[in-house]
């Protein structure tokens, strides 16, 4: 099992969710985060005082999938979240030791 963490632009969330559903990934958790990579922030001005906002709003999608599903899932996210502009985001793949479904107690690949 692997955990896929994808940081994407907020307005891409629906598209990414639909693209994942198409390759059979139907469970995920989503968090609102702030961050930056190479994308520059912007400036706001309040009564003549300038403020630079470096941290930009992003969406973090986390989903745990079976090993054999990783490649398709990553491809789906990449295609759906891509705009071609700086700030599109990143995908990280992490190993998962164990997964358990709380309701039934199933574990391993049956749980995800």
């Amino acid at each position: 099992m692997k955990k896929i963490e994808a940081i994407v632009k907020p307005f891409k969330l629906e598209e990414v969710k639909d693209a994942l559903a198409e390759v059979g990934v139907v469970g995920m958790s989503v968090t609102e985060v702030k961050g930056f990579g190479r994308q520059k922030g912007h400036t706001e001005i309040y009564r003549g005082s300038e403020y630079t906002v470096d941290f930009l709003p992003k969406m973090k999608i986390e989903t745990v999938v079976a090993d054999q599903a990783v490649e398709d899932a990553v491809k789906a996210i990449t295609k759906a979240a891509n705009t071609g502009k700086i700030g599109d985001g990143k995908i990280f793949v992490l190993p998962i030791e164990q997964a358990i479904r709380i309701r039934t107690g199933e574990n391993g690949d049956e749980a995800i």
Partner: protein, 409 residues
């Protein structure tokens, strides 16, 4: 008794009853929202609390002595205590408002007494100790507002000189503005100012508050006619024109200078125009109001941005820059724009000599305010300390002073 009651005009009474509610609405929640939206989220409740508690405290102080101190018909600087707890109030109206019941004049003027110290809240937000705030504003209201009001409106020395202050350019805006300036200097800036980002946490709230202030100002200036007649109508007309003009002026300056017209800019501009027209709303006409709007929009913008940045004081919500400077501008300009032969002035004074009277009164009240505010702050500092400690300031006054959070979701 019957002759006395016959002087009461029901139309005037109805209007001033309404105006009293409008001006109270300016503090709760107009000014409350205006200020609360401008501070950081962790301090939103403390600002609302300040405005609310001041409303309550000033009500009691007004009853116990302040009304009498302002409007008793004796005394050059402070009125006597003849009307304390409304003991001496008879069936006769007050001389300043002889067609409405005395109690109505009492409550209408109370709403001005309430909003003036509330204006100063903007200068010490996010760092003042609650007990210090209560002591300071209470003492200030009694020792600064009362003599300012009495000498300008209550038949004291400036009234005798013929000073023109229709609705409180000197009594409200200059006193509050100067008091705020002293307070923010004595208290010192917020931790991290000016390098740390301290953005308004809820501008929609600020804009809503501005609308309430603007509408309420019809009661503030229009009600100061103490009559439901042409002078009240003129007052609200010039109020509207000055507010709109100053708002647009500020907006266009920012558009030109920063490339984007801002919401905060346009609403702040409107308040500058409203403050400036306040003393003049009895004597200038629409053309005069246009000029007052333009001038106050520009000068208050300059005072709140360039001058503040240059001197480095943390007048957090620009009380001095907008109210102090705005009130001063209107107080002086009315001599020229409201004079007998001026533009469309409706006053019956001569520009030159009136200007001298205006300047004298404004400078005298301003200087007195400066000194007395400073003394009160030093005394309160010695009594209870003015600021919260650094940790409390960091965690925010809502949780540290009031044990609450504004938004729990």
């Amino acid at each position: 008794m019957d002759e006395l009651i016959q002087t009461i005009d029901s139309g005037n009474t109805a209007w001033i009853l309404t105006a009293s509610a409008l001006v109270l609405f300016m503090t709760i929640p107009g000014l409350s929202f205006f200020y609360a939206g401008l501070v950081r989220k962790k301090n939103v409740l403390s600002v609302l609390m300040h405005c609310f508690v001041l409303t309550c405290v000033m009500t009691i102080l007004w009853l116990v002595y302040a009304y009498s101190g302002c409007f008793a018909e004796d005394g050059k600087i402070f009125g006597s205590a003849k009307y304390s707890i409304l003991n001496g109030l008879g069936a006769e109206p007050h001389g300043n408002a002889d067609t409405i019941p005395h109690e109505l004049f009492f409550i209408f003027q109370m709403t001005f007494f309430i909003i003036t110290p509330a204006l100063m809240v903007g200068a010490f937000v996010e760092r003042i100790k609650f007990s210090a705030m209560l002591w300071f504003t209470g003492l200030w209201a009694l020792l600064v507002y009362v003599p300012a009001c009495h000498t300008v409106w209550g038949g004291g020395i400036f009234g005798e000189m013929g000073v023109q202050d229709f609705a409180g350019g000197i009594v409200v805006h200059i006193t509050a503005g100067v008091g705020a300036l002293v307070a923010c200097i004595v208290l010192g800036p917020r931790k991290g100012y000016p390098d740390t980002q301290m953005m308004p946490h809820n501008l929609p709230m600020t804009v809503a508050g501005t609308g309430m202030l603007w509408v309420g100002w019809f009661g503030f200036n229009g009600g100061s006619a103490v009559a439901a007649d042409g002078s009240a109508a003129t007052a609200i007309v010039v109020t509207q024109i000055s507010a709109a003009t100053a708002a647009l002026t500020w907006m266009f300056i920012e558009w030109f200078k920063h490339g984007k017209p801002s919401v905060l800019g346009i609403v702040t501009g409107s308040i500058a125009g409203l403050a400036a027209i306040t003393p003049a709303s009895g004597v200038v006409g629409p053309q005069g109001a246009l000029i007052i709007g333009l001038v106050s929009g520009f000068i208050c913008w300059y005072a709140s941005t360039a001058i503040k940045a240059k001197f480095g004081y943390d007048d957090s919500l620009d009380v001095f820059g907008v109210h102090g400077v705005g009130g001063f501008i209107g107080t002086l300009l009315l001599a020229f724009l409201g004079a007998k032969d001026a533009l469309d002035g409706r006053g019956d004074f001569v520009a030159g000599s009136q200007f001298v009277v205006q300047l004298k009164a404004a400078l005298a009240v301003g200087t007195y305010t400066f000194v007395v505010t400073w003394v009160i702050l030093k005394v309160v500092d010695a009594m209870v300390g003015l600021r919260v400690d650094e940790q409390d300031e960091n965690s925010g006054l809502d949780v540290s002073a009031h044990g609450e959070a504004g938004y729990n979701d």
